[in-house]
Amino acid sequence: MQTTAIPAIESDAAIEIVRLNKWYGTFHVLRDIDLTVRRGERIVIAGPSGSGKSTLIRCINRLEEHQSGKIIVDGTELTHDLKNIDKVRSEVGMVFQHFNLFPHLTILENCTLAPIWVRKVPRREAEETAMHFLEKVRIPDQAHKYPGQLSGGQQQRVAIARALCMRPRIMLFDEPTSALDPEMIKEVLDTMIALAEEGMTMICVTHEMGFAQAVAHRVIFMDQGQIVEQNTPVEFFNNPQSERSRLFLSQILGH
């Protein structure tokens, strides 16, 4: 797929990150990150383990706090102001490596909980929305089961549906397929591709190169807390610029 033209609407950035720095104690995890994500843009973040990919996207919905720099999501700057944090979180959906479904609630309840309690949507309506998205990820018939009764791939698709039920404008994925058995990776990636085709703004940390080639507008390569390289997927995979990205690609494509 070569339809990787970046959306032309230059004016409104979905996410703007300016000179972002973060430390864990004395450990400098993120160094001078600058990144602008346009509305409808799809970005894949790659890089070796420990390079700060998760930390970066977790800063975007304030699961991690940054120490310097600016993060503006949909026009709202993330500061200590709890109202802003709530606003950003309700517009940004997140999918985790380990699904993090709520095991004591049914699939349907997992999907309706936040709309009902955060968005104050009437229960009936929330359930309809939930069923709509569960159909989208193709597991409507599991709605009344508990997460523990589903396979990993099904759980991850529920997690995607749960995030979508909040009608987010931006979706963050943190290695959504790396805890899955190989035969389940495809069903999750297919769901994500379908989402991409609808024009959702997406930031995915993933090493699934096929997925990156199919949907990403841009691949961002991180190492040691820095953005080392960014390019279109075709360019990045065929013609990596930096030594470190070349090494990384040879490692993940090598075997």
Partner: protein, 483 residues
Amino acid sequence: MSDTHSETVAFMRETMLPPQPPPLAQSGAIRWLRENLFSGPLNIALTLVGLGIVWLLVGAVGPWLTHSVWNAGSMAECRQIVAETWGQGATGACFALVKHRWNQFLFGFYPQALYWRPVLAFGLLFLALAPLLFSESARARRVVLGLALVLTLVVSAVLDAPGPALAGMAVAMLGWAALVEARPRPALLASLVYPFAAAWLLWGGSLWTEAMALAGFAMGFVVWRGLARFGLFAFALAVVAAAAWWLLLAGPLAAALAGVLPLRLQPVSSDQFGGFVLSITIGVAGIALSLPLGVILALARRSDLPVIKVLAVMFIEFIRGVPLITLLFVASLLLNYFLPPGTNFDVILRVIIMVTLFAAAYMAEVIRGGLAGLPKGQYEAADALGLDYWKAQRLIILPQALKISIPGIVSTFIGMFKDTTLVVFVGLYDPLKAMSDTIRASFEWKGAYWEPYIFVGAIFFVLCFGMSRYSMYLERRLKHDHR
């Protein structure tokens, strides 16, 4: 015998042997015994020692139990009957004591004509709990409701409740049970009112006293909801409003309302409480109050706010470092020095407060264990969905943490319920020591030693075992995750 082949075949078996059971040593009880009790020298030795101990116990207690006497008017009569039936020197339990004085073990010095009131309060407890404890299983809930209703009425009738009281009871209980079945959510409100109804039934007096106490809570709640957007400030104001209500308005208002419409039950004072009425009153109140307090303490101890955290740690560690008896002494003696002279702060209420604080500290640690046992991903998922701290706690974290903690929580409940017998040290009539001593002090039952303990112990066992079984039922019911 058929003769078709008899010429060609020398022998043909025509009747099958019936299948034989496996050799005795390979199956059933003998095999079980061999595998479990006699599998090796050490095992054989332990089994023999165990059997020896059982033999000694049965030898010592068996005759005493089998010779027990149920119909006698005094200890002396018991002994005489035992001697006549089983020969001189035989020993026998004298459960006739229980038959004569069971009511004191259960009700202490509560006026006999009013026994139906604690019974009703106890029966209503199950109506109040049914929508909480059996919310998912309609069948279990109906069984509980039905049993509570029928048993309360039957027991009250047996205990000579007056006719109008019985009729009112039947109507109220039927109505409430119907409410629980038809409208579970309003029924939860009724459960909230229950403690006040129970207090009125137990202590009697004017209904308006309890009603005004309840109104104070209601007012605090309204203030808090009305100002909810001011956060903690709203909570503080609500507390102030409720306190002002109780201290300034509740008394005069209750008196005025009683003047207009006197709804009175014959008052029963706290020193007439005793036996299981006392134990269960303290135990149930302590359990109901210590769970929420324990949750708050556990959350406070994990709080990011240093002041709150330090206060919680200090409270929990202080309480856990002090024996319950000390706290009870504080409740009964020291509080009197600190309170302004003339204040009459009910002794049972004081004991309930101390028992609650004591259990809450342990409860907090149990729940903290549950909170720590939850994966971090649960907090993150709740945050990422935009749930605020309290909603995340209430909807995601606590349901799971409490579920993990059920065994510990119920153990704390059971421990606390049994600890209510310690109130004997502050002059209250607990069933185990104070009531037994009182009964033993009478002329007829002097010399009875084990019988009261066995009776009281059996009742404690039934109640505690019931709680323990319920906790297992609850664990099974909540077992959704097959991870």
